[in-house]
């Protein structure tokens, strides 16, 4: 049930983003409803974290950090998959909207990946006694972050150039292949990883699973709202650049 709602949110958010990106300047008004949905979900999620999810026996209160760490994974992957999807479509059609979607997915994906990398050590320090260990999951996640930070640098160095768009589209398509390595890092390490296995594999008590699920749904809609806003910004900046070049 929880995973079905999360899946439905991913599909709904993707469909909405594809619809908005088709004519972002006219359709961005619908973002206020998505923003309102996220604003309604945030207090519900926080209430579930504080009062509904039971205290875990071994980790105690520190386990509550999981309810913000795990949900950040979905928008991270979503963002980078959107970058690949936008890249494929840009190479196929050469329409700027796909390029905007790809860049927006990468930028917002990096924001959520940063969150994951910052919040993880805040949990690790009191539980493991260490801020960071170079285990398979942490290292591959850091590599994933570097891949997309490099993508954003590449873009910022060559703003508005067709060559940059083409190269970054290819880079974004290749870069997404790192996601399975991150997702299956703990399995690939054959027990040598300190990071816990994927919650989907381990299974969580219902109250914990539902809280993680609501967190994921909340983050998916925050992500969708941010991507739409970033697409709008990209479109505005492209228009300003075009008018500057026309004036020059």
């Amino acid at each position: 049930m929880v995973s079905a709602v999360v899946m439905l949110s991913v599909v709904g958010a993707l469909a909405w983003l594809l619809w908005v990106s088709r004519d972002v300047e006219r359709r961005i008004g619908s973002a206020r409803w998505v923003g309102a949905l996220a604003l309604v979900l945030i207090p519900i999620w926080l209430w579930l974290v504080a009062y509904y999810a039971p205290l875990e026996e071994i980790q105690g209160i520190f386990q509550k950090i999981f309810y913000v760490h795990i949900p950040a994974i979905i928008p991270t992957y979503f963002g980078f998959i959107l970058t690949a999807l936008g890249g494929i479509q840009y190479l196929r059609t050469r329409q700027e909207r796909w390029d905007q979607l790809a860049v927006s997915g990468a930028e917002v994906g990096v924001v959520f990946c940063t969150l994951m990398l910052v919040v993880g050590p805040i949990w690790a320090k009191p539980v493991w006694g260490l801020w960071w260990v170079w285990d398979a999951r942490l290292t591959t996640t850091l590599i994933l972050w570097f891949i997309y930070v490099a993508y954003l640098f590449l873009r910022s160095f060559a703003f508005g150039s067709d060559t940059a768009r083409t190269y970054t589209a290819v880079y974004g398509i290749v870069g997404v292949s790192a996601i399975p390595f991150v997702y299956y890092a703990v399995d690939l390490a054959h027990g040598a990883a300190m990071h816990p296995a994927n919650p989907a594999k381990e299974g969580l008590p219902p109250e914990m699973g539902q809280t993680v699920g609501v967190g994921m749904v909340t983050f998916i809609w925050i992500f969708a709202w941010l991507v739409a806003k970033r697409c709008e910004l990209g479109s505005l900046q492209a228009r300003v650049l075009a008018s500057r070049m026309g004036a020059a």
Partner: protein
């Protein structure tokens, strides 16, 4: 408890900072657009 509060506070701060950046960049782009039109 401080660790838990720190985790949620950092999350809120990062998301808020990015939202404010988008808002500021949009305002700057709109100003540029008006100047060039």
């Amino acid at each position: 408890m401080p660790w838990v509060i720190a985790a949620y506070a950092v999350t809120g701060a990062v998301l808020l900072a990015y939202t404010l950046y988008l808002h500021a960049a949009r305002s700057a782009a709109l100003r540029d657009q008006q100047r060039h039109s």
